[in-house]
């Protein structure tokens, strides 16, 4: 089973107080910590587990700046056999469509039975690349996958619906699945492991290698253009409780009693 996993390097923003750049085109990223997109980490783990169970190869591919090599080294340390980077400056600013187009050009000549991506990226959250890529490749796809069971040329998969409900599907391979968080428990990757992966080659593909023109990728090749970013308007302002832990707790107790807490 030859598996290709598409990954993205993103800033960690979960518990960070974000600020906006003066040109209103992005958040201030200079002090942020970057890592593999959380969904992609689960996709990588799933690929490596399938390989460990039934054999085959895993190739990690990313579109991003030079820094994204670090993310690929992480994938190699997790168990990927090969890695490809699409780091041509002309690709920067690509939207989901242009990104999928570039990935399509890189992947279509490769051997694959299965392509995995994350459901979405934690930065722009479009949740489009997987579906677009599958459509371009002309292979079936399933999004929000929570279980994969390979049975020869078929895969039995579960996908997440809403409210705890899931559905089970049977899909012919080759196929593309977008992987949901929680599908597995991604292995720990040590700094030593990442260092060791430095020896492995990362194949670099430029726009001309992808047989594309610069007009087909980057902002020019994009369907969607970012006008500006801004802080969400505050719909309702929470009453902020201040003080030391004791004062805060006193006030919270009052509120809890007043609002029907049984104490």
């Amino acid at each position: 089973m030859d598996i290709i996993v598409c990954v993205k390097r993103v800033p960690e923003t979960a518990e960070v107080d974000l600020a906006i750049e003066r040109d209103e085109k992005d958040i201030v990223k200079k002090d942020l910590v970057f890592d593999i997109n959380e969904w992609d980490n689960y996709a990588m783990e799933e690929a490596v587990r399938i390989k460990e169970n039934i054999g085959g190869t895993v190739t990690a591919v990313t579109l991003g700046e030079e820094d994204s090599r670090e993310t690929l080294r992480r994938c190699l340390a997790m168990g990927a056999d090969r890695a490809m980077i699409l780091a041509d400056p002309a690709l920067q600013g690509s939207d989901a469509y242009a990104t999928a187009l570039a990935l399509h050009q890189a992947i279509k000549k490769e051997r694959y039975d299965l392509i995995l991506t994350g459901v979405q990226a934690s930065d722009d959250g479009y949740a489009q690349v997987g579906g677009i890529l599958a459509e371009m490749l002309g292979i079936p796809h399933v999004t929000m996958v929570t279980k994969v069971d390979i049975q020869g040329k078929l895969a039995k998969v579960r996908r997440e619906l809403e409210g705890g409900l899931e559905e089970e599907l049977e899909v012919e391979l080759p196929a593309l699945f977008t992987i949901q968080t929680g599908i597995n428990e991604p292995r720990y990757v040590s700094i030593m492991g990442i260092r060791k992966a430095r020896g492995k080659e990362i194949r670099e593909l430029m726009v001309k290698d992808l047989e594309l023109t610069e007009d087909e990728v980057g902002q020019k090749g994009s369907q969607i253009h970012l006008e500006k970013v801004f802080l969400p308007p505050v719909e309702k302002e929470a009453e902020i409780i201040q003080g030391d832990p004791s004062q805060i707790s006193e006030r919270l107790l009052e509120i809890i009693k007043e609002k029907g807490g049984v104490i």
Binding site: I132, M136, M144, G163, L169, G182, E185, P233
Partner: protein, 325 residues
């Protein structure tokens, strides 16, 4: 020109609320440019749903086919692209749901239309479609525009528009012969899998203490459990905690978990992504503790504490216990 298609989303014989939210928004979008609103209903033996949609659109297009009985993006895409190529709407709205996310990107590529996903606001600009959407887990909003095109696709975030009916329309139902010639073969629906029966039913709890990513380590959940016990409540959580297997799925609050309606909801270290917040709309009072002053949870909470939850929780627990004894 200017017509809007809304894909009616239904599951097991019932229309989902996002359908009505999109129909309301779709009607406004047609009024802005002068077009008609179409509710698109694909399914099998769903005429009762078509009747329900009549009052919400200028026209209901119904395609009945056994292969459309359960949502499957493969036959749905075939039928929708057929309808769109013939009727040429300017805009197609699809829910940003599990169904919509499985369908919209592929359909957009087939049609050659730009697609904006997860929109919380949409408007027509002279150059085409513009939308507001959220990035970085709801902490930042982005205004985006699509390139010029004859048609656009957008997926709409659940809960972004009202589902309350304004004007009652008198749409007629037009039944269209299914364009599905042969059996769909690549992707087959097997069955629905229900959530496991819960040991603790958080949907009935009056007091919920919920934890998110900010709890840091699995061991810290014990401290939260103690607070919940002292308050006579239950512990629930947001998605990352279930993903890490620190708590079972039955404790998850949000779109892919449970919808809760406690008198008091205490959110600890939960940023407040919309998927989570959608599950606590019915809560009486929401108290949030988070280190990040811009965490989206503070715009739905009634009371907020911008602090380290580990400093506050033990003190609060002690005070609750002292009061009880």
């Amino acid at each position: 020109m200017g017509d809007v298609f809304v894909l009616a989303e239904h599951l097991r014989g019932e229309l989902r609320e996002v359908t009505f939210e999109m129909l309301n928004k779709g009607l406004k979008m047609t009024e802005d440019v002068g077009g008609e609103l179409y509710a698109i209903l694909l399914g099998h033996q769903v005429s009762h749903l078509a009747e329900q949609l009549k009052g919400w659109a200028h026209k209901v297009l119904l395609v009945d086919d056994p292969q459309l009985e359960n949502f499957n993006s493969e036959p749905y895409q075939v039928v929708l692209s057929h309808l769109i190529k013939h009727r040429r709407p300017s805009l197609i709205l699809i829910g940003h749901t599990s169904f919509g996310m499985d369908l919209a990107p592929n359909l957009a590529v087939e049609l050659g239309f730009p697609l904006i996903t997860d929109c919380i606001e949409l408007r027509w600009e002279p150059a085409g479609l513009q939308a507001t959407r959220q990035i970085y887990g709801g902490k930042i909003n982005a205004q985006v525009s699509a390139r010029e095109s004859d048609g656009y696709l957008a997926t709409v975030r659940v809960g972004s528009f009202s589902a309350e009916q304004g004007v009652r329309l008198t749409g007629e139902i037009e039944t269209i012969a299914s364009p599905l010639a042969e059996e769909i073969k690549y992707k087959r629906f097997i069955q629905y899998i229900e959530a496991a029966i819960a040991e603790v039913d958080i949907t009935q709890a009056e007091i919920i203490v919920a934890v998110g990513r900010g709890i840091g380590e699995q061991e810290n959940i014990a401290m939260v459990q103690e607070l919940a016990d002292a308050l006579g409540g239950v512990v629930a959580c947001s998605r990352p905690i279930v993903d890490k297997k620190w708590l079972p799925k039955e404790r998850q609050v949000g779109t892919s978990g449970k919808t809760v309606k406690p008198k008091i909801y205490i959110a600890l270290g939960i940023s407040g992504a919309f998927q989570h917040v959608a599950g606590i709309k019915g809560a009486g009072t929401i108290i949030a503790i988070n280190k990040d002053p811009k965490a989206p949870i503070f715009s739905v909470a009634d009371y907020g504490i911008v602090d380290d939850l580990f400093k506050v929780i033990p003190v609060l627990k002690e005070k609750v216990e002292a009061l009880k004894s």
